[in-house]
Symmetry: C2
Subunit: 451 residues, 2 copies
């Protein structure tokens, strides 16, 4: 074997490949993709047009073609499959696991979907129909139907016979699930135990009564938390009757975690659609505009509010100088607070200490931070810039802003969570806009009282 | 079997348990924790003092005790283990897998660590010593030494014999790794293949030449990317000579991905230390202050800058009214742009299109967004508030700010990435502070030119 290396998509190779494509050089294309992993060919295809990609795929085996299409991201696949005929898509889908097949079918127009299901391998079709009933974001929506199931009354040798029969369909498995005569899940036998046990032993005598199963309607993020917490490589899915209906493997959960992180990043950044940098200009614009417009509305409101203090500003222009300071600090404190709350909600590491104790702590931190910052600004303003009364006003306002921003930053995600919204919303432009307005109000209130 | 349920940590149970602890009611504690999963007991322990937790643990089996301690988060474990004697810790560590043992040892003071290694199970000790050489964030630092290794010249039955021998140490495995006489990794045999193959077959005739292996020094985040991309449940780790030295399983990678997401969230929120809401007040304050102080410095700089335009502001106070609008928009656009770049860098979905093409697209999106927002603000200001010349100035400045903020938001993470820093830094207060200053400068420049 060669030393273990990854396929390297160099610029030279891509250019050479493009040339081969232009010349329809089948020999080069076939040879250069021999022994290349499906996932690497998938990466390569992002470089070419749909027509070119299809030309490449048609030169490969059906199995490889299916794997590659399965590896495409959902948006790309959706538009790519438009140039495929129904029989071609059907052949591809027949190669996939039930969960992947359901995902691909879900992306297709309804009519095409129905047509394909009618032509598909009947066993897979019935599995897929079952899966299509579930929402994308619950256990039922991410599970696969492929699993090895053994009756408690079987022997080990019957189990191994079943594995032999299923081996073609079930590519990755770590355990055999044990059920009773009514398909009710009883437990599991680890694969290694099967290897090490005498073949006449009854399954009922060696299986682990494993209580870790999830129900079909459990949120995918909760499935992920459970699998992480209990360190499971796969988890059986049961319906309300406790019957085994599917299984979720840890690689599905990796996708859930990755998506969750991505979604949260977008929310924190104030991007309102699932968008990527290389999506179209129009889509990028549309994803960004909503929060920008809300920010603008906040800005116009701020302008209107400051209009009330026009005469004060005309008298002492220096009042205006500290608006950025007040607002930036309020914004930073708010985001810090809310993201810590979001973190503890996401990772669920924190015990439910009760709101009061929690707020008490947040308040202590805010007091301390507020004090340090207020003193810092006071000395900066007095010693360096030589302001007198204004120094005090700015520091007092700053202290108040740190405390209020902290309170709002903590309370908002908790409230959102309580009412079933994604708490990460509170770490985005929402909290910034709120805190901008609040900071301004507190500052001008202080100005009004003391100057 | 009971219907599959998770252990539920109700408030009532916690109170009852606390009472049992106060009364040293061993019977209740033992009974109530019977059949409870280690991970659930770990969650429970977060509720009590170290001494109380130790009292509970001492009532449990050594195996369970080890699992529970292994499940604690690093900070908690560090302080918890302080009340354990060296022989107690040694007994616990002897129960762990090599990678977990190395993690626990890494958290202990050097002297204690040496003492424990000297008393430990010698096989585990030598494995751990090997692991301790690696940095936490490379493949060598997250791999485990426990794996099933077979020589290419063995038969299937010899393989199964080896599994039998190792089964005590290796709790989770999905494949047997195949090596030559010099321990050089040649490939792997999936467990299911072993089950289905005649026992006299030679390993060399059935193994898959699997080129997917990672080298010891590869970054953990890259290991995660590879395992995600190629959908691997485990990956062998080789040294520079290509010799098999360990393996990484997908659950290790789940931890890497989760940590990465958490780290990124903290960076975006301007929190400079790995801190959680329930850490001490002092630690929370210290983690937040650095970026707040930088924000303050930016604010004072803004104040100084606006001082240059004191007479303009005194003449037309309304100039000041639009500072929040300009700054908020600049901040929002900057964060949006940078987080999209960070996303494409993290997920590596984007082909390296070249900087120019990339910036061209970013610029188109910015032009479009800028135009929409500028028009919106112009109509708002003219029609609703009745400003005339100032409306034009604000809109022109806003348009410029959107474009520059977008440029900076895109370029900064790319530059950080190029020079080996975490690009997520560019999505935090860094970009906000920069854009605040830039926005102010652009606005007053426009004011100066047109008013």
């Amino acid at each position: 074997m060669e030393p273990p290396v990854q396929f390297d998509l160099t610029k030279e190779f891509r250019e050479r490949f493009q040339q081969a494509l232009d010349e329809r050089d089948q020999t080069f294309i076939r040879q250069s993709l021999e022994d290349v992993n499906a996932a690497d060919i998938t990466s390569l295809l992002y470089e070419f047009t749909s027509e070119e990609s299809k030309y490449v795929l048609d030169l490969l085996t059906l199995e490889l073609r299916s794997q590659i299409i399965n590896g495409l991201d959902s948006d790309t696949r959706k538009s790519f499959l438009k140039i495929f005929a129904v029989p071609e898509i059907t052949a591809i889908i027949n190669q996939l696991d039930s969960d992947d097949a359901a995902d691909v079918l879900n992306e297709l127009p309804v009519r095409e979907r129905e047509e394909i299901i009618a032509r598909m391998d009947p066993v897979l079709a019935s599995q897929v129909i079952d899966l299509l009933r579930y929402d994308d974001h619950v256990a039922g929506g991410i599970m696969a139907k492929e699993l090895i199931k053994a009756n408690e009354n079987w022997t080990v040798v019957q189990c191994i016979e079943e594995i032999r029969k299923q081996a073609e369909h079930v590519t990755k498995f770590y355990a055999v699930y044990v059920v009773d005569d009514h398909d009710k899940l009883l437990g599991r036998v680890a694969l290694q135990k099967l290897i090490l046990t005498d073949s006449k032993t009854l399954v009922r005598d060696i299986f682990d009564e494993d209580p870790m199963a999830v129900e079909t309607y459990l949120q995918d993020t909760e499935v992920a938390e459970i699998m992480k917490k209990y360190d499971l490589e796969s988890v059986p899915v049961v319906n309300v009757q406790g019957q085994l209906v599917g299984r979720i493997t840890i690689d599905d959960v990796v996708d859930v975690i990755t998506e969750q992180a991505e979604e949260e990043r977008q929310i924190m950044a104030g991007i309102s659609e699932d968008v990527e940098e290389d999506d179209s200009v129009w889509r990028n614009t549309r994803a960004r505009l909503p929060w920008l417009v809300i920010g603008i509305a906040g800005g116009l409101l701020s302008a209107r509010f400051m209009g009330l203090f026009e005469s004060e500003i005309e008298r002492i222009a220096a009042i205006a100088f500290f608006i950025p300071l007040i607002q930036a600090t309020g914004g930073n404190v708010g985001i810090q607070s809310s993201s810590l709350v979001v973190q503890s909600l996401v990772s669920q590491t924190m015990a439910d200490d009760g709101l009061l104790k929690r707020l008490g702590k947040v308040f202590s931190v805010a007091l301390l931070n507020g004090l340090v910052l207020a003193l810092l600004v006071f000395f900066g303003n007095t010693l360096i810039f030589g302001y007198d009364k204004l120094s005090i006003v700015v520091s007092v306002a700053l202290f108040a802003v740190v405390n209020f921003a902290s309170l709002i930053g903590t309370a908002t995600p908790l409230l959102l969570h309580r009412f079933g919204f994604n708490p990460a919303l509170a770490s985005g432009p929402f909290i910034t806009t709120t805190n901008d307005l609040l900071g301004l109000a507190l500052y001008f209130l202080t100005v009004h009282l003391f100057l």
